[in-house]
Symmetry: C2
Subunit: 390 residues, 2 copies
């Protein structure tokens, strides 16, 4: 479009400028002349470009953070109008998908203008990163820019993205509130005889009615006294007395996720389930009291597992919480191995899980922002006792 487009941004321009400057400060320290971003989350984070069109894997999209100045988008022509309504002014496009050259020549020439021979181009390459572009295109790009070095930009990106501004915290809080209201309505549609698949559908509708723009993630399960796993799609099996139902959601509002679950007992709660429910609630409570900036991710893992074990509960093997924001999950991970230092402004999930018996688990989850004096809850706190449904 030729005419100047109306801006359409979730946050003020200053928020995106702050992010760009923070990335550029890290780049300067690391000696990086340009940061090349390709994923939906990274492009949204740096430009404000919000679309569900990423669902189509057909086309790569690139956003460049130069050493100085505003980001430069190199994107398929179909996105020019929408990108023109963000804060980005430098937008280069090509008619994608092009089987001969799907934007690589254009991208190389834009980068060459920004990075001198001998310069360093940072691309996120480490844990929890992906290059959302064809591998062969990346090899071609490297050969076009053979005088420059490609280096790992993971640390540059992660140390900035993991610290949320107050505007971002408010956005996650809003998504959490939406899901909280939807969880409050579960008793109206989940009861004995209704299939878990129907419960999933009704829950997604409740999330939309409560204000979610879209529902990127719903998982859960139901089983006698506990469920088998937490990533399965819904079963057609009807709920029965004695089942524990778990619903977990990543609902999205303004591009920001919540990620938490709630558990419900269909009829009275079994004694061993109630005991584990108590242990999980207390483990979360301990973290809500004792987590502080300066601790490492592995320290929180230790705190959660220790509390569970002190209540004679067997912690699940996977991570017991993680970062959260413009994707359903972000680094760090509350595992025994993750040494990431927690800092003020991180938005995190606390997700302790327990194996009651083989194939029977129970998982709790809350979302928090870490403040100087400890966690501030973003989710309405789960009840201490498992709510009973009919």
């Amino acid at each position: 479009m030729a005419e100047p487009a109306e801006r359409s941004l979730i946050f003020p321009r200053a928020e995106y400028q702050r992010r760009t400057h923070a990335l550029q400060a890290k780049m300067a320290v690391a000696g990086q002349d340009l940061l090349l971003l390709t994923t939906p989350a990274d492009v949204f984070y740096t430009t404000g470009f919000l679309t569900r069109f990423w669902e189509s894997p057909a086309r790569p999209w690139y956003n460049l953070i130069p050493a100085k100045g505003d980001p430069i988008a190199v994107i398929p022509a179909i996105g020019a109008d929408l990108m023109g309504r963000t804060w980005i002014d430098q937008i280069h496009t090509w008619p994608a998908p092009d089987p001969h050259d799907d934007g690589v020549g254009l991208l190389a020439s834009v980068i060459a203008d920004q990075v001198p021979e001998g310069g360093r181009i940072a691309v996120p390459m480490g844990l929890e990163t992906q290059l959302r572009a064809p591998l062969a295109d990346f090899e071609t790009l490297k050969s076009h820019l053979s005088g420059r070095r490609f280096v790992d930009g993971t640390d540059t990106l992660h140390r900035v993205r993991e610290v949320k501004s107050e505007a971002e915290v408010a956005a996650v809080r809003e998504s959490c509130a939406i899901a909280g209201r939807a969880f409050d309505r579960v008793a109206t549609f989940a009861h004995t005889g209704v299939s878990v698949a129907e419960v999933f559908r009704s829950f997604q509708m409740a999330l939309l009615q409560e204000g979610a723009d879209w529902v990127s993630y719903v998982a859960g399960g139901a089983g006698q006294g506990g469920y088998g796993d937490v990533i399965s799609p819904a079963a057609e099996k009807p709920l029965e007395r004695g089942d524990v139902l778990m619903l977990d959601t990543g609902a999205v509002r303004n591009g920001y996720f919540c990620d938490f679950d709630r558990n419900y007992s269909i009829g009275p709660v079994a004694a061993d389930t109630a005991r584990v429910q108590e242990a999980l609630w207390l483990a979360t409570e301990r973290a809500l009291q004792d987590m502080r900036p300066g601790m490492r991710a592995c320290d929180v893992h230790h705190m959660l597992t220790e509390t569970l074990q002190s209540h004679v509960a067997t912690p699940l093997g996977g991570r017991l919480g993680h970062g959260l924001g413009v994707t359903l999950t972000e680094w760090p991970s509350f595992t025994a191995l993750d040494q990431t230092v927690l800092v003020e402004g991180m938005v995190l999930t606390l997700e302790p899980g327990v194996e009651i018996a083989p194939g029977r688990t129970l998982v709790h989850e809350e979302n928090i922002v870490l403040r100087a004096d400890g966690p501030e809850l973003l989710t309405p706190r789960a009840p201490q006792d498992l709510p009973e449904l009919m």
Copy 2:
């Protein structure tokens, strides 16, 4: 879990065996000893592993197609239970995310057992592919397997995935029927004064009520006599008389997508919009009559643009249709450049678009399966005249 798990597959085991054998036949011709797959679509296609957990970018997942025998999954431990309920028996797991080695050592050793020194490992690297794993991990994998060659597996994968079985056609048809019923209800919630954002929410609820498992994609727009672009999220602006409203959806049932849109006029239709509506409807009609296996993707592009131009309408610059199946969009692309030969069994969208004036477009979309004697519609055919809403 130690006990044998109940199988939970959308299609019979024979469907997955057929896919594996088809890939292995292509691999044999290309001299490839193993095909390494990483994306949600490719893993789902070859294993039946269906989960929304891909929404978390934290962990890579690998599925290996060996030269002979069944696929081998190398996946995070959190997926062991669900993968155990597919048809896959060989499942290797690691406790992801692991900051020291996130499954690369394990993956290298499993591949080394399958591919002799000097052998060739195919990875999709071309147009419309991505490696859903950290770049640094791929480099480490290559160094672990330095005696083997990594080659492009795009053609192997695409020539198999693009030809749908009758079971797959039925799955897309079901998603199309669900969306068709939801489109029929648009008049009940979209009218003057309602914001496009509210229409998007109501439409997503209608899709769920009509049987969608989840709604991976909704886009659209509204504007006087046509809309500005087709990938934007919903605006808060209320619908007004004279607007054309477009809704486009990729609703998912059993892991298979539909991808089509419908247009509605708020109040009476402007004369130039009605004329373009007619041209678009006739362009689709021509393709529905004349498309045949053996044509190239660019021939369909030519057919659509020629018909539009003969009705004095200006075709949009992007692609005018594409493949469809386990992702919202698949190859080929109806562009002037795509030489892909169309074959029987391809599921495709016909998506002609017209620019009425700068910033005012109209786009139609239908989904078809290509038969020996031409297209079979999978969508309920759009009405020839633009329906009017109050």
